[in-house]
């Protein structure tokens, strides 16, 4: 934007040619498609192979496996009536893991609800996730909402259920880090549907204006419940939306964990150097239902899902690892079995835990409860007594 304040360079003329040039470059990235390996695990772009040790490469695979195994268990537990709702992660493990892995522990993550892999990378255990999902006494979020994870211990802010309203928060946290002189970077994750919300607009606009050290990872999994991307926007990519805010946008194969890792880690470095925000569009595919309450056969063809399976992130990464001599197919599959039995054990343990106390919802409304809540709590306690006297079961 032609500078005006304290400057008399008036804008009644074309923009300087360097702007068009810069924007043409940004456009190519926003409409491109970065991948390091193809769907058969073959390297297609060396420059996108992160410099990682074999051990680290294997670790990335293990995170993806853990996410997938846990996802399966959450589905199972939901069907058993032990979990209120679950949003399947299957197919999106590469984006979650590839995004979280390059973050430092003190960086902040504002996730959405479909990123088990990211939580695990940042240190959340299966047990904690199951405590949350089943609202045991150890639920770190004390029964406050469903399908949502977060814990300050890992600098993971609990996701909002209202889609996308974490985006300006992430921007604000990043601006705060900058003001305070911290070298923290903030990462926000959300879906293609979230891009339609006002929050996306204001969040990215502020980030552009204030050069906030934040990386937005938009997981374009092709669907927002039953709404396909072409109903979400007429733009040819989501990455191109960044250009509206003077922010670079880059489209990447979200099922290629290495490409996601490389692109996100560059964006994080850029943010850490205080050069500004980036929007990464990770092209992926939601292989499962939207949530356990959803029946996708109402709106999408099985055929599409079958084809999408070919691009599924674990298989291709496994092939890559094998080709690099990091892990054999057998070792890889063994890992899955191992984690499956480990999680089974954890599930058993968590199922034994008691639930949250009855009055838990009176906590954490204010730092100091106002008299209104104190009076209400008294009424609450009396009503429990009355129920007992009457011999009625309130929670049936």
């Amino acid at each position: 934007m032609t500078s005006l304040l304290g400057d008399v360079d008036l804008p009644f003329k074309p923009l300087p040619p360097r702007v068009l040039e810069e924007y043409s470059g940004m456009l190519r990235e926003a409409l491109g498609f970065k991948r390091a390996i193809d769907e058969e695990g073959r390297v297609v772009d060396e420059s996108l192979l992160p410099k990682l040790t074999n051990r680290e490469l294997a670790e990335i695979y293990e995170y993806m496996v853990r996410a997938r195994v846990l996802d399966g268990w959450l589905l199972k537990l939901q069907r058993m009536g032990k979990v209120a709702l679950h949003a399947p992660n299957r197919g999106q493990e590469a984006t979650a893991v590839g995004t979280a892995k390059p973050m430092k522990p003190h960086d902040w993550l504002f996730p959405s609800y479909r990123e088990l892999g990211a939580y695990i990378v940042r240190g959340m255990s299966e047990e904690e996730i199951l405590d949350r999902a089943m609202n045991t006494i150890d639920d770190p979020l004390k029964g406050s909402d469903f399908a949502i994870y977060g814990n300050r211990k890992y600098n993971i802010v609990p996701a909002p259920v209202p889609v996308g309203n974490q985006i300006p928060l992430a921007t604000g946290a990043a601006i705060a880090a900058k003001i305070l002189g911290h070298d923290t970077v903030v990462v926000a994750m959300f879906g293609d549907g979230a891009s339609s919300r006002g929050d996306f607009h204001t969040g990215l606009n502020f980030a552009g204006v204030f050069k906030a050290p934040v990386v937005y990872v938009l997981q374009n999994n092709q669907w927002a419940i039953s709404v396909p991307t072409k109903r979400q926007t007429a733009a040819p990519s989501f990455a191109v939306k960044a250009l509206a805010y003077g922010v670079p946008g880059i489209r990447v194969d979200g099922n290629d964990v290495l490409a996601v890792y490389s692109i996100v880690s560059r964006a994080i470095e850029r943010a850490r150097r205080r050069e500004g925000p980036t929007l990464v569009e990770a092209v992926t595919y939601r292989l499962g239902a939207h949530t356990t309450a959803d029946d996708p056969s109402r709106y999408r063809r099985e055929e599409e899902v079958k084809i999408a399976e070919r691009y599924e992130p674990l298989r291709r990464y496994r092939k890559f690892l094998e080709s690099q001599g990091v892990l054999t197919e057998k070792e890889a599959l063994q890992l899955e079995e191992e984690w499956d039995s480990r999680v089974e054990e954890i599930v058993r343990k968590v199922l034994q835990k008691p639930g949250l106390p009855k009055d838990v919802f009176f906590e954490n409304v204010y730092e100091r409860p106002p008299w209104v809540l104190e009076e209400e709590k008294k009424e609450f306690e009396e009503s429990l007594k009355i129920a007992e006297e009457l011999g009625i079961e309130l929670e049936e």
Binding site: S226, R298, Y299, K358, I386
Partner: protein, 325 residues
């Protein structure tokens, strides 16, 4: 007459109105191909096509804002908010345009718009799939606010809401969606906005409520009758703005005692207005305190929701307090 549940009754209402009036259109997230997450709009896209049953991008501000423009231009849109808890992004549009366009334009433009969506708790939906936020809309001049408790009313009230020439917030207690069935005529009938109904007659105390709480109140009333012999009159308001003060006052003339039960938060919940109105205009009728049983003033919790919302014990306790005063 078919015996249908509330989802089916709402679907009938939409279908009949869309057949009757080509200006009626439906829009929202997943309302088309999918038929809505609760299937209220099921089958409409097949009958009326993509132009009248419109799947939208994910933004309540956009859904409502665009629907207002449609209404001003001459359509009669019914906008679905997938869960009413998500309506807050649309708040500016609702207040400034849906509610006030008629006033702002001195009557030159009107907004015949229905904003409908599932509300209220009872399905273990947590903070954002359980709210009863009707008070925000009742407080806003220019809106009608409606909440049916049963399939028959749902159909008649939705049809009337579509025909009214002002914006209507139409709240559907989702816990009732499939749990109550009754005979619902296939004819064209409507129920006027602003009229409540007596669910259960009684002489000792008037209990005013709406939505899913009607059923909880009935249980509490039966218990109170059985245990203490108290005779509780239950009124289902159905419309929350304007509420049926004549019905409430005439019941109070008989009973002299008032309990209000709602799922909305207690502080400045709709019960506050009803109570304050009586204290202002009919205090002479009161033989004791006016008790409100409401959700506690905390965000809606995922766990223990039945303890958080009004339940039989809480209502019973309120009845005791007014009867034994």
């Amino acid at each position: 007459m078919p015996r249908v549940n509330m989802v089916q009754a709402l679907n009938m209402a939409l279908r009949e109105e869309m057949r009757r009036d080509p200006r009626v259109v439906v829009l929202g997230e997943d309302v088309g191909r999918m038929g809505g997450v609760f299937l209220v709009t099921e089958g409409l896209i097949e009958e009326f096509g993509e132009e009248r049953v419109i799947d939208t991008p994910l933004t309540e501000m956009g859904i409502v804002g665009v629907a207002i423009g449609m209404a001003m231009y001459g359509l009669r849109p019914v906008a679905e908010i997938q869960f009413i808890d998500f309506i807050y992004e649309a708040f500016d549009q609702i207040v400034n345009n849906a509610a006030w366009m008629r006033f702002r334009s001195a009557g030159m433009y009107k907004v015949p718009l229905v904003i409908r969506g599932p509300c209220c708790g009872g399905i273990r939906g947590g903070m954002h799939h359980s709210q009863s936020n009707e008070a925000y809309f009742i407080h806003t001049p220019g809106l009608y606010v409606v909440m049916p408790s049963r399939p028959y009313d749902a159909k008649g009230l939705l049809k009337e809401s579509i025909r009214v020439d002002d914006a209507v917030i139409f709240l559907e207690p989702k816990s009732v969606y499939r749990t109550v069935r009754e005979e619902v005529p296939e004819d064209d009938y409507t129920i006027p906005l602003g009229k409540g109904r007596v669910v259960r007659e009684g002489d000792d105390v008037t209990l005013v409520t709406w939505g899913a709480m009607v059923y909880v109140a009935e249980k509490a009333a039966e218990l109170a009758e059985k245990r203490r012999g108290w005779s509780v009159e239950i009124i289902d308001l159905r419309t929350l703005f304007p509420w049926d003060k004549d019905l409430v006052v005439s019941s109070l003339e008989k009973t002299g005692r008032l309990v209000i039960v709602h799922e909305a938060w207690k502080t400045l919940g709709p019960g506050a207005e009803i109570s304050a109105y009586i204290a202002e205009n009919h205090i002479d009728l009161l033989r004791g305190p006016v008790k409100r049983v409401a959700s506690y003033d905390t965000p809606f919790p995922l766990v223990h929701e039945k303890l958080y919302m009004p339940n039989v014990a809480r209502i019973y306790r309120a009845l005791m307090e007014v009867m034994e005063w």
